[in-house]
């Protein structure tokens, strides 16, 4: 589904990604872990097509299409979703109005009929229920005055409504207490499907107790230095990123 090969990217003059390879198939959950400044969020932004991030080498393919040829909204229409680390506030714009506009823009781009207000409301209620989001949140302006937990839950709700093929979760666990973390993780798990893949970007192993990944990758200094099964996350927890660096340095030397 997603093929990232030898990806190099920079912001202004700083090269942040220095040759990332990542392959994600439908139905899989991949965790990308790494310390601050390793390039995790850059990877998420590059996948979503943020303009400030310049791809200098390598390739990005989504279902065989070159992502670099696609505008951010086209990537969204193709089924790529990014749950933002810092969801943006849009004052005065109702949350459900926003979601309806988003869903119908996507449906239109796919040549499908736009949902009318009644059908949309039914869908919205059902999905809000699925990911355990309070209906009061739907009536408030997009993310305005939301607590950290509400913002993250709102991202999961948007994902539930838009039904992407590939969801990238950028530090969705940051700033959440354990209860909020569990709710968010339960929401994600409710959306796991055979034809849907997840890339879960996180600093801490904690989230992966609740969203169990099929593959774990360690991103360090703009490169994936180790990949493994879910056990790798536990190893990280024990030895820290420094331990992993030594191990990988040793590995490449031997």
């Amino acid at each position: 589904m997603l093929r990232v090969s030898d990806l190099h990217a920079r912001v202004e003059e700083h090269e942040i990604l220095r040759g990332v390879d990542l392959q994600v198939e439908a139905g899989e959950v991949h965790a990308v872990m790494g310390p601050n400044g390793s390039g995790k969020s850059t990877l998420a932004q590059v996948l979503a097509g943020r303009e400030d991030y310049e791809v200098t080498a390598g390739s990005l393919e989504f279902d065989g299409d070159d992502l670099q040829e696609m505008a951010p909204e086209e990537r969204a229409h193709a089924g790529l979703f990014l749950a933002f680390q810092y969801p943006v506030e849009i004052p005065g714009v109702g949350n459900s109005y926003f979601l309806k506009a988003a869903l119908n823009a996507t449906r239109k781009a796919r040549g499908e009929q736009a949902l009318d207000a009644m059908d949309f409301l039914r869908l919205l209620r059902e999905r809000a229920n699925l990911v355990d989001v309070d209906e009061a949140l739907l009536r408030r302006p997009v993310n305005e005055g939301f607590s950290g937990g509400e913002k993250k839950r709102n991202e999961i709700l948007q994902m539930a409504v838009l039904e992407p093929r590939l969801a990238v979760l950028d530090e969705t666990d940051s700033g959440l207490d354990i209860d909020a973390l569990k709710t968010v993780a339960a929401g994600v798990n409710a959306l796991r499907r055979e034809d849907r893949a997840f890339v879960v970007i996180t600093h801490y192993q904690r989230l992966l107790n609740y969203i169990v990944p099929d593959h774990v990758h360690v991103l360090l200094d703009g490169r994936i230095v180790r990949s493994g099964g879910s056990g790798l996350a536990l190893e990280l927890e024990e030895r820290g990123y420094a331990g992993i660096t030594e191990a990988s340095a040793g590995g490449s030397g031997g």
Binding site: A48, P72, E73, G92, F98, A102, A105, L162
Partner: protein, 482 residues
Amino acid sequence: MATATDTIEALAQRDYEYGFVTDVEQDTAPPGLSEEIIAFISAKKNEPQWLLDWRLHAYRGWLKMVEPQWANVRYEPIDYQSICYYAAPKSDDDRPRSLDEIDPEILATYEKLGIPLREQEVLAGVAVDAVFDSVSVATTFREKLAELGVIFCSFSEAVQDHPELVRKYLGTVVPRRDNFFAALNSAVFSDGSFVYIPKGVRCPMELSTYFRINAMNTGQFERTLIIADEGSHVSYLEGCTAPMRDENQLHAAVVELVAHEDAQIKYSTVQNWYPGDKQGVGGIYNFVTKRGLCAGRRSKISWTQVETGSAVTWKYPSCILKGDDSVGEFYSVAVSNNRQQADTGTKMIHIGKRTSSTIVSKGISAGEGQNTYRGSVRILRSAEDARNFSQCDSMLIGDRCGAHTFPYIDVANPSAQMEHEASTSKIGEDQVFYCNQRGIETEDAVSMIVNGFCKEVFRELPMEFAVEAQKLLEVSLEGSVG
């Protein structure tokens, strides 16, 4: 909107009945301003002597006044002697024969706003071939109002038919020599609207200039007077979202509102006059004096405006809160795109006890537009327990535009409660990207963000006006984000 054609229908019928026959031979005054010209205008309109004297007093005052320089706007000096101050409504022969003769850019805007073809013709001033057999909506409308004792007519008609009311109220809210442009208007005003709502009457429909027979060609010096007698309510709509074709560059209107005890006046404006081209050439100068007097106890005046047009706007709809417990409100959205300049805001003058005022101003600047909020809240010594809430928000789109805020607060009574909030935000790339990532294209995203920003004002507009205003904002800001 659908009734605009009916208005024309009514116009056409009126032409048929009376024609444009007047007792003065010329139809147009030569350019320039003098006492003779004013006498000519007054004679053309068959005005009583007192009104001519009233005009001349204004004119003599104007001669000694200087054009205000304090506004944060720049424009070429106006040559007042080159302006033509009276022109009879155009005959069909002088008007465009069809829409083919109209500037394609204006037509494109009509298309975007979804205006039906017939209304486009009316707005563009096309000579409509008027053969109608139905009774016009406008006439029925007037009859219905007349049953309730509501007077809604052109200012000129009011001078003829209700001289006692005109004489009693004219200039009581905006004195003849109030300011340079008001004095000019008082000297040469062409026409406008007159509304009187009798005691205890709630006007059953929104009064719109659309419905007023003779609404077209009111010219550049419009004069409006609205009186709400005790306990009456009225909602008045001015302007329309479609850009009006107009050959006069300078517009200096005066609007006076009087609300007696327990009366309420809601005055909503959508202004979309030609803003000039992208270099700012040829746009309208809109220098307007609008003021309401809350004369009686518990009276209320609300101004709501959506200003997207004109090259230069100078406009401060104000409330004088004289009656105890009276309420003044000002809700405004002002957009300046390309080279547009707007210096707009309000004045709330608290005189009566427990008077309260609310100001919500949303300024949007795009392109090289400059948007200034200028507001004044004055609490006089007599105004025990007065309250004011002001909120002034500015939004910048792009990095070549400007937003400026000049709030003046003057409190002479220590019991006053004042709240002032202000913010400036840049329409964020991160907001647009967030929308993009959810599948929403950039233009739609900008329009959504801007509409959200203006929501507190739009919800004060009458329903169908609000929908039109949103659409208008979209068209006005088209292409402002890359």
